[in-house]
Amino acid sequence: MIEKIKEVVKKLFKEDKIDIFIGYGEGTLPLRTTPCFITGPDNIEKLVWNSYCFNNLAVYLPRFFLPQLQKKDLKFPRIGILAKGCDGRSIVGLIKEHQIPRENLYIIGINCSGMIDIEKVQNAVYKMQEVEIVSAKEKSGKVLVENEDNKKVELKKEELLAEVCKNCQYTAPLIYDVLIGEEKRKTKEKERAAFIKEFEKKPLEERWKYFQEQVSKCIRCYACRQACPNCYCKECFADQTRPKWIGATENISDIMFFQIGRILHQAGRCVDCGACVRACPMGIDLRIFTYKLIEDVKEFFGYEAGISLEEAPPLATFKPDDKQEFITEP
């Protein structure tokens, strides 16, 4: 697949269709890749495509199209971007929210076969962080991991897939200029929301305890916010001083406010790419909360984020017969 990507990118630069290409480059550590910004045809060889390309590249887009850049008579760059299913949906969301112009984008869609969760690799073989993995190779559905003592272990890729990728619904973006890779990965649709349903069944106090447990791990580094393509606000509510929504203390109530606030801001926008979960250094189970809103938006308003450019965002519109059972009647 990587050959095909390089070919397309080379052609784009040759035909002068893009100024910058955003893809993945080799990481400095095994099992990792780094976002790679390519500005000319000479550096195309740096690009890679493997099972560790989990970063959501859409997060880098809005900064190229800030309004203050337009004032200086600078022309917006034309950007080519490699997009997995989730990246593609994030891009659609950003276009819809007028953060990036569609005409300046060239989206190379790629049919993603799921990304590997590094933690799962580490847990599968060694106890986490006790042993350093020095190399990792991937071949036909298997991952060969080698540690510092030259001990080699072969693992099945299927068992290492990240939770978000396991039951992914859209493996390829829905809006693209070229699509690479044809086969559609089959995932189990029914099991997708099973963990939400299970959590809902628990008694109220238990749910609260779990929420409290998860939130109390938070150190408010805001890595989840930085990693999220939807969090492009110039000034986040967490940083605002007027009104000051959140105190500067490590009081759990403030942390709860931040988490509830951030998750609510994702309502109808989150595409379940898992960037926040991966970014969290404390391993907070954020997905159980963000996915609830995805499910609710789907159930109440029949809307899914990042699917179409025309459909209005769910919280900017209404239907006369929207769900109303929650209203208190005397």
């Binding site: 609260w208 309502a267 109303q324």
Partner: protein, 142 residues
């Protein structure tokens, strides 16, 4: 310490200027009796109520929050309450999901002519919050 038997809940009520606030006014003018546990905050429209206001109120130790606006279709700003309805549906469902008692945060529609209905709703909300007892979750303790 507050005596638990004499404990009375504090409820913040966000009332929309055009309907619910006038409804509350009518209840007052008509001398309809209702519990005095509510603290009214007048807002231009129920659509003006940011979900953050509600969470912030809970954080500051308010035992219950009521948001009341015009009936669907009667909004002074045509669709403010309809957009608010979507927001509140998600907020209420989410707060319940993470384990905050569903009775703490309530929403209702009261028109300017429904003084009696306003009193009934306040009675109902106060009763429910009273049953739940003082709020412990979310409250910021110094």
């Amino acid at each position: 310490m507050e005596n638990k038997n004499n404990w009375e809940p504090k409820i913040v009520a966000f009332l929309c200027n055009w309907c619910s606030y006038a409804g509350a006014d009518l209840a007052g003018v008509s001398r309809t009796q209702y519990p005095s546990n509510i603290r009214v905050i007048r807002v231009p429209c129920s659509g003006r109520v940011n979900p953050f206001y509600i969470i912030k109120a809970l954080q500051n130790g308010v035992d219950g929050v009521l948001v009341s606006g015009c009936h669907p279709g009667d909004c002074h700003y045509i669709s403010g309450n309809l957009i608010a309805r979507r927001k509140f549906a998600l907020l209420k469902s989410f707060l319940e999901y993470i384990g905050i008692e569903p009775g703490r945060v309530q929403f209702s529609w009261v028109s300017a002519a429904e003084g009696g209905r306003f009193a009934q709703i306040i009675e109902k909300v106060t009763g429910e919050v009273k049953k739940l007892g003082p709020i412990k979750k979310m409250v910021k303790e110094f």
